[in-house]
């Protein structure tokens, strides 16, 4: 699907060397310099077309906040800090996906897109571009910045109470809820977004039917013990709301393979490896990637190097279809 002609990393280095040769001494700055041809002034991804391919556009500072809790690769974040601007290159794969999203029939089941390629080819940044498009076009964003962070570098594990034998990653779940809330602040104020059924967490705690979605999210952030189950319930609610037509959703998951790869670094108390399917968070996002809901689009990125892992992915999807 994607062939890298010039990888993102190489382009960034060319950009730095260009800039450093331009500003190597502090003296010469031309006052009437033309803007370089590799930039566009079109900063709205909704208006990006194939004519803009190969040019850099700047993400305005106000919209930069969607990446506050993750979403951009670390080395890219350092570049952003140095040059005081977030510029993404407009590339054909993301333009293709954006054009598809514009012309999709949302009454049909959810379409799934997969971005794959070798390391350093620009999958995460293409995802970021499409996410920015989703933000601008008013979609509810369900964005998982990097699944590897949960499977390989989880902050805390605990045995799940709701499900026997499953593991909760509560701190990570709560952090994700904060991320979700900050990305979708402007949409969550909508009074139409209400929970469709009662969620009982314990004897004294429950989130009633008809309560706004923000209450569910806040509950998950405040009560870290129930954060994972909160995420699972939130996924269900989002599916219900989207099918009901209250909001459009864009599910963007970076590193989707990690939900299937058995060698995680999540351990039980007895130091045994936990398969991703035994982690409660996995269930939430696998639920979101099924095609039994409409009015949404799903965008996934491959994490690992070997492309034959994708076939592994397809087998699991078929399994899920059988279980429906």
């Amino acid at each position: 699907m994607i062939k890298s002609v010039a990888s993102e990393a190489v382009m960034r280095r060319i950009c730095i060397s260009l800039k450093s040769s331009q500003f190597s001494t502090a003296s010469q700055v031309q006052p009437n310099a033309k803007p370089p041809s590799f930039r566009t002034s079109e900063n709205d991804p909704q208006k990006h077309t194939t004519a803009h391919i190969g040019q850099f556009y700047q993400i305005p500072t106000k919209e930069r906040k969607i990446f506050l809790y993750g979403g951009l690769p670390k080395s890219y974040e350092i570049q952003t800090k140095t040059f005081n601007e977030t510029c993404i290159m407009i590339r054909k794969p993301s333009i293709d996906i954006i054009n598809c999203l514009k012309s999709l029939d949302y009454s049909k089941p959810a379409v799934r897109f997969v971005l794959f390629g070798k390391k350093g080819n620009g999958k995460s940044l293409s995802l970021a571009h499409v996410l920015h498009y989703g933000y601008k076009s008013g979609c509810l964003l369900v964005h998982v910045p990097w699944v590897g962070n949960w499977m390989r570098r989880c902050k805390e594990t605990s045995n799940s109470e709701a499900k026997e034998g499953h593991i909760d990653l509560n701190l990570d779940a709560a952090a994700w809820l904060v991320h979700f809330k900050s990305q979708n602040e402007h949409l969550l104020n909508n009074p139409e977004l209400k929970i469709s059924k009662d969620h009982v967490w314990s004897k004294r705690e429950n989130t009633p039917k008809g309560a706004p979605l923000t209450e569910l999210i806040d509950f998950g952030i405040n009560r870290i013990k129930y954060a994972s189950s909160c995420v699972v319930s939130l996924a269900e609610e989002i599916k219900q709301l989207t099918t009901g037509g209250h909001c459009k959703t864009l599910v963007a998951i970076d590193g989707f393979n990690a939900f299937f790869y058995p060698n995680t670094r999540v351990f039980t108390e007895k130091k045994q490896i936990v398969h991703p399917h035994k982690v409660t968070l996995t269930e939430a996002f696998l639920n979101l990637t099924k095609f039994d809901w409409n009015n949404s689009a799903i965008l996934l990125t491959q994490l690992l190097k070997k492309i034959r892992r994708l076939i592994y992915l397809d087998i699991f999807w078929d399994e899920m279809d059988l279980n429906i």
């Binding site: 800039k19 450093s20 500003f23 190597s24 006052p31 350092i78 040059f83 005081n84």
Partner: protein
């Protein structure tokens, strides 16, 4: 090498100057030592930076030392670029120095002490006497203090990052190393009375 072997002149500009002044004729037929591995005729070569890399090197790990200095220069460039891009006016932008080599030279220059204290024993008592130092010794002390200051850091901070911060501070005439030099000068000024012990 036998003592009559001369050191090579590896820089093109220096060779051209010698040719102009006529000294080159004398050196051309003399037996010469081989150039060291880090001496090239490239214009990007800087003898002071090579010396600095040698001072940082431990256990003969030249690659590590060079890597550290290069990363420190990259960090300096990034920090200065950040300042540059955050500046509002053109005037402020022009004041910011972006070239890390220029900053390095400036830092070494600002940290060079003029006098040093040596212990001199007179009548059973050791006095700290202010004494002038040669330019080479002063340059060595300046670079040694810069490296020592970069090592005094939190264990989580990387050496090349701390070195970059120290160099930028020193180039702007503030920071730990310049303070150390100024303390030394103050001590010399305080011990001015013992200066005659140098000769008595």
């Amino acid at each position: 090498y036998p003592s009559y072997y001369i050191k090579p002149v590896h820089k093109k500009e220096v060779q051209d100057e010698l040719a102009k002044s006529g000294e080159l004729q004398k050196l051309v037929h003399m037996p010469t030592r081989a150039a060291l591995n880090d001496q090239t005729c490239s214009p990007a070569q800087d003898d002071l930076i090579n010396l600095f890399i040698n001072y940082i090197m431990r256990d003969g790990l030249k690659v590590l030392a060079r890597d550290l200095v290069e990363r420190a220069f990259e960090n300096i460039k990034r920090i200065q670029l950040e300042k540059y891009h955050k500046c509002a006016s053109e005037e402020d932008k022009q004041k910011i120095e972006l070239n890390p080599r220029v900053i390095f030279h400036q830092a070494v220059e600002n940290c060079k002490p003029i006098l040093n204290l040596t212990p001199i024993k007179r009548g059973g008592v050791r006095y700290q006497v202010p004494v002038p130092i040669t330019p080479k010794r002063s340059q060595f002390l300046s670079m040694k203090w810069l490296i020592a200051a970069a090592k005094e850091k939190d264990s989580k901070v990387r050496f090349h990052h701390q070195l970059a911060l120290e160099l930028i501070d020193a180039a702007n005439n503030r920071g730990r190393v310049v303070k150390r030099k100024q303390d030394l000068h103050r001590q010399c000024e305080a011990n001015r009375a013992y200066a005659h012990y140098r000769w008595s």
